[in-house]
């Protein structure tokens, strides 16, 4: 199950970046991007249903495992095609490819979610959509919907 972001909660502290690097031996898979002074957005793998990276991977190193876009390090040649095929720029190649693995095997799930001090990340799609709906409802109640 992918990690969902609630951008309105992100405070741009980069804790998720650091936590990800810590768990993955210094190679992180989250990048917080700043849009002027208005927002900060952690960018990472969407675990796309039809993932481009798996379509171009000729050895089968990148493949789908249920909802997850998984990676088999043994099969990777580090060719770099996946890096170029990802529309979001969230697959890296450093001798071999690396990307978000949702902290596979880690007790407690993805470290970025647990670390985020603003509770901006979750694996719960319903929570993300519920928050978005309640924001919209609040805006409507305040007569702000124009």
């Amino acid at each position: 199950m992918p990690v969902y972001i609630d951008i309105s909660r992100c405070i741009g502290c980069r804790s998720c970046e650091v936590a990800c690097q810590r768990v993955h031996g210094g190679k992180g898979h989250v990048n917080v991007h700043y849009v002027g002074d208005t927002a900060s957005v952690p960018i990472f793998c969407h675990h796309c249903e039809e993932a481009n990276c798996t379509l171009v991977c000729f050895t089968g190193a990148l493949h789908k495992e249920g909802e997850r876009t998984a990676f088999d390090v043994e099969k990777c040649t580090g060719c770099g095609l996946c890096r170029l095929a990802c529309p979001f720029g969230v697959v890296w190649t450093d001798k071999i490819a690396h990307k978000c693995d949702l902290c596979d095997g880690r007790e407690g799930g993805p470290t970025c979610i647990i670390t985020c001090p603003a509770n901006a990340l979750s694996t719960d799609f319903d929570l993300a959509s519920k928050r978005a709906r309640s924001r919209a409802a609040k805006a409507a109640a305040q007569g702000g919907r124009r």
Binding site: A39, L81, L84, P87, G89, R135, A136
Partner: protein, 138 residues
Amino acid sequence: MIKVDRNLCLGCLSCSNVCPSQNITRSESFEKRTIHWKRCKEECDLCVEFCPAKALTLVPFDENVPEPEITFDLVACRICGSHYATEPMLRRIESVLPANLQKDSSDLEWIRICPICRRDIEAQKVTKQIMMTRSKSI
């Protein structure tokens, strides 16, 4: 020895990465990537097996044949101008991905944009959505 089909080679990093004897070297400058295949006597065909383009074959050792070398110009990102990929690699991606996935909702040909700018664009898109709800609640 390794024989290279120049018309097929993508200029990717596969063979130089998998070669256990460092017989395939790669040098990269700001705008160019050069791959050099040394005269190789090893009985190993990892590079042949792991070439995504099937551009390599093994041929009998011959001192008189020059060592193959190909230099690729790296393609510049349409947004920031940084040189990020070889043209054959991008063409390979364009040939594998379905046409409807090669442009985003705003008709942007994202394959021709470097990964860093792709992340920036994604951040801007998401921010636009949140700004709409922010302005509604003021």
